[in-house]
């Protein structure tokens, strides 16, 4: 009897939820039915294409599939399921570009250690955080040595880099280099010195007013014009310069928002204790301002990560660029959707992860401050 009762209540709970959320009025019921039909149509199409009717094999009678025709089900795009062989066969290119196969372990090692370098910055209550931060400062040198090469390792020219490696390189390095620059810009914009202030405002507003692609073009075409003959930065470095400047302007605005949120009393109290300008900022203002500014900073980072795909226009092979290169291969033509869906998924995983982190921080900030 008792059991029956609780069963009934459970039943009621679901029933109530469904009635409240899906069928509260007749209009709502119609909407629910429309949504269900829509979900069924889109969902069944998408799942069939990606999974149920797709061909996941990447070898055919013991040999790697290098030809679309061997993907048995997929002759006409869109008519049958996806042919994922292109992703499996070209996996190395999607990840590392044209990096020499025997040296790929160097990239893998760098990829594997990257989370360790970042985790110390992301979570402030991490045990042994200090050591992780030390590692963060050590990591760029390590990554440079590993990826580019040096004594003991063969030098891999950056025009061999590609795929996710270039995307992550531009994203991570761009953000890391832009961070100190953006702090200087944000402080400069709030400075009392009119000339420094106006230089910072001009720089920030100029960068924010033009599209990234024009900056990339400028870096690509004009940097060689500006510099002496011997100095000729390669394409990746030129793109990195543009990306860094671009990111620093957006980040500076995010940090400025944080600076503005700090009450004036904090500055005055610090000054009355006899702290200098730099001491005030380093010890009192910036730690508080940056904490508030992290969610908007992460949002600009998501934007930058997506925008790294623009470098394909100046001829670099980032993830999207390498995908297009794969499609230019005659044997793989017409597998557009497979390639684009895969790349979208990779970008989605990174960006969605970052946006979840930013949400987590916002929630944490709210509870910390109340």
């Amino acid at each position: 009897m008792n059991l029956n009762n609780s069963n009934l209540m459970m039943h009621n709970k679901y029933y109530n939820w469904i009635q409240k959320n899906l069928f509260s009025s007749w209009i709502n019921s119609i909407f629910t039915i429309i949504a269900l039909v829509f979900l069924y149509k889109v969902g069944s199409f998408f799942l069939n294409w990606t999974i149920f009717e797709a061909d996941f094999r990447y070898n055919f009678q013991g040999e790697l599939i290098t030809d679309r025709i061997l993907c048995s089900k997929n002759i006409v795009p869109g008519e049958y399921g996806a042919c994922w062989a292109i992703i499996f066969v070209r996996w190395d290119q999607f990840m590392y570009g044209f990096y020499p196969t025997e040296e790929i372990w160097r990239v893998n090692l760098t990829f594997a250690l990257l989370p360790l370098a970042i985790i110390g910055i992301l979570f402030d209550k991490l045990p042994y955080r200090k050591y992780f931060i030390y590692f963060t400062f050590f990591f760029p040198f390590f990554a440079y040595y590993m990826l580019y090469g040096g004594p003991g390792f063969s030098v891999i020219d950056t025009n061999k880099w590609g795929g996710l490696l270039v995307t992550l390189f531009l994203g991570v390095t761009g953000i890391a280099l832009a961070f100190p620059l953006s702090i200087v810009l944000a402080l400069g914009r709030r400075s009392k010195m009119p000339i420094i202030k106006s230089i910072c405002i001009l720089f920030i507003e100029f960068i924010r007013g033009v599209p990234l692609i024009t900056l990339l073009f400028t870096a690509n075409v004009m940097l060689p014009l500006f510099l002496p003959e011997g100095v000729n930065p390669d394409n990746l470095l030129r793109a990195l310069v543009a990306v860094t400047l671009f990111q620093s302007a957006y980040m500076a605005e995010a940090i400025r928002g944080g600076l503005q949120a700090i009450p004036r009393g904090q500055v005055e109290a610090a000054q009355s204790l006899g702290l200098s300008y730099w001491q005030t900022n380093r010890k009192i203002i910036l730690p508080q301002a940056l904490k508030i500014a992290i969610p908007p900073i992460v949002n600009t980072c998501i934007g930058l990560f997506k925008d790294t795909s623009l470098v394909l226009i100046i001829g670099l092979f980032d993830l999207l660029g390498i995908g297009r290169a794969a499609l230019a291969d005659m044997t793989w033509t017409k597998l557009y959707y497979e390639v684009y869906v895969f790349i979208s998924l990779v970008f989605f995983i990174f960006c969605f992860g970052m946006s979840r982190y930013s949400l987590y921080l916002e929630k944490k900030l709210k509870t910390d401050n109340s």
Binding site: F31, I199, V210, S344
Partner: protein, 389 residues
């Protein structure tokens, strides 16, 4: 003694600030001097002159989409204007579509229907976390794989969707159409005064007038009456399939549709978030108070919630419009003939005048950005609290 003077200036705020600023100016001057000298040297060595004379040389390339007459014999300057107009066209259309879609999705995200709400949520997360460039390329690819012309998808018996674009009727404007247009604008003008007049009356007497119906009727029927009075000066030229192609009508090219879809679907996701947070920011008490006053739910939305939500929505909306306009420069990836593609790309390659062309392109984008900010700020001022300093 000198030490004392030195110390006096060392700890003087004004002296320090003067010193630092002079230092910064000095460093900048040196850098600019060196770069200019080096650039002049490099340019001379490559045999590229400076100056804007190249604008008067024939461009020598075709542009597939052009709002003004253009042939390959026209000058680079004209190519610039063609590109500028295309950039403005895609930006305006994109902003328009993104706003409608964004408001729709933003409102759906607050719907009481769980399924609807979550479909909108999935849409937002999937579109804003994938690069806009990738989306543009993807939609363009889908458009290119639409049926060929002979199997065109027919929409409403008038539009034909094919892999070469959307074929649609083109308007033929005859004499007297300008008067119909004029009557349309005049009716809007009159409607504005009618609204003002009756509002004043309502404030004095408390009596409500059906202003909305009067004005809608005025704005809809005046042009129609004039249209028939002038002898139906607007006709449509319908596309007809003849042989392998359509005759008559006009075609909206897949590059344009792809750009429009990519830009507006991507930006709409961001706009929907600002709309949602704007509506959420209006406190619950406002809604409850207006319900207690006996207002109907559509009036609560129109008179109480939306005006307050707009105050929160407009500033981020402005930056979304700016982003969309800047992202319209990605047309180069699929061959949409915008400013960066034609003038900033092909003209630059032909003339080699990188500095002049990039200067012009960047200045143009800066001007557009400033104009959008200016007008949106004006609008923002009109929706903000008044007399509430």
């Amino acid at each position: 003694m000198s030490n004392k003077i030195f110390r006096k200036y060392l700890f003087d705020e004004k002296a320090r600030s003067l010193f630092f600023q002079t230092l910064v100016i000095g460093i900048f001057a040196v850098i600019i001097y060196l770069v200019t000298k080096q650039t002049a040297y490099n340019l001379e060595k490559r045999g590229i002159g400076t100056g804007f004379e190249f604008l008067n040389i024939a461009a020598g390339y075709d542009i597939s989409i052009s709002l003004i007459p253009y042939t390959s014999d026209d000058t680079h300057l004209r190519a610039y204007f063609v590109g500028l107009l295309n950039t403005l066209l895609i930006s305006i259309c994109g902003c328009f579509l993104a706003t409608i879609l964004g408001f729709l999705v933003g409102i759906i995200r607050l719907s009481s229907n769980w399924l609807f709400r979550n479909i909108a949520y999935v849409y937002v997360e999937f579109t804003r976390n994938v690069p806009v460039l990738l989306q543009i390329i993807l939609y363009y690819t889908i458009l290119l794989y639409l049926p060929k012309i002979k199997n065109a998808v027919v929409l409403f018996d008038t539009f034909y969707l094919t892999n070469r674009g959307l074929f649609s009727p083109s308007p033929i404007i005859k004499e007297g159409f300008s008067i119909v247009l004029l009557s349309f604008f005049a009716s809007i003008f009159v409607a504005y005064f009618i609204k003002k007049f009756f509002k004043k009356k309502q404030e004095l007497t408390g009596k409500q007038y059906p202003i909305f119906y009067i004005n809608s009727a005025l704005i809809i029927f005046t042009p129609i009456i004039f249209y028939f009075l002038m002898g139906m000066p607007l006709e449509f030229n319908h596309p007809v399939l003849k042989g392998f192609n359509f005759k008559g009508g006009m075609v909206i090219r897949p590059e344009f549709i792809g750009m429009l879809l990519g830009l507006s679907i991507y930006t709409a996701a961001f706009i929907s978030e600002t709309v949602r947070s704007g509506i959420v920011s209006v406190s619950k008490g406002q809604k409850e108070a207006s319900q207690a006053l006996g207002l109907k739910s559509n009036l609560i939305m129109r008179l109480i919630i939306i005006p307050q939500a707009l105050r929160v929505i407009i500033p981020p909306l402005t930056s979304q419009y700016l982003n969309l306009t800047k992202n319209s420069s990605l047309g180069i990836a699929i061959g949409y003939a915008d400013l960066v593609h034609g003038f900033g790309g092909i003209s630059l390659n032909q003339t080699g005048k990188a500095i002049e062309i990039m200067f012009m392109v960047m200045t143009t984008y800066l001007t557009i950005s400033l104009l959008i900010s200016f007008f949106m700020n004006l609008y923002n001022k009109s929706v903000q609290f008044k007399g509430n300093a």
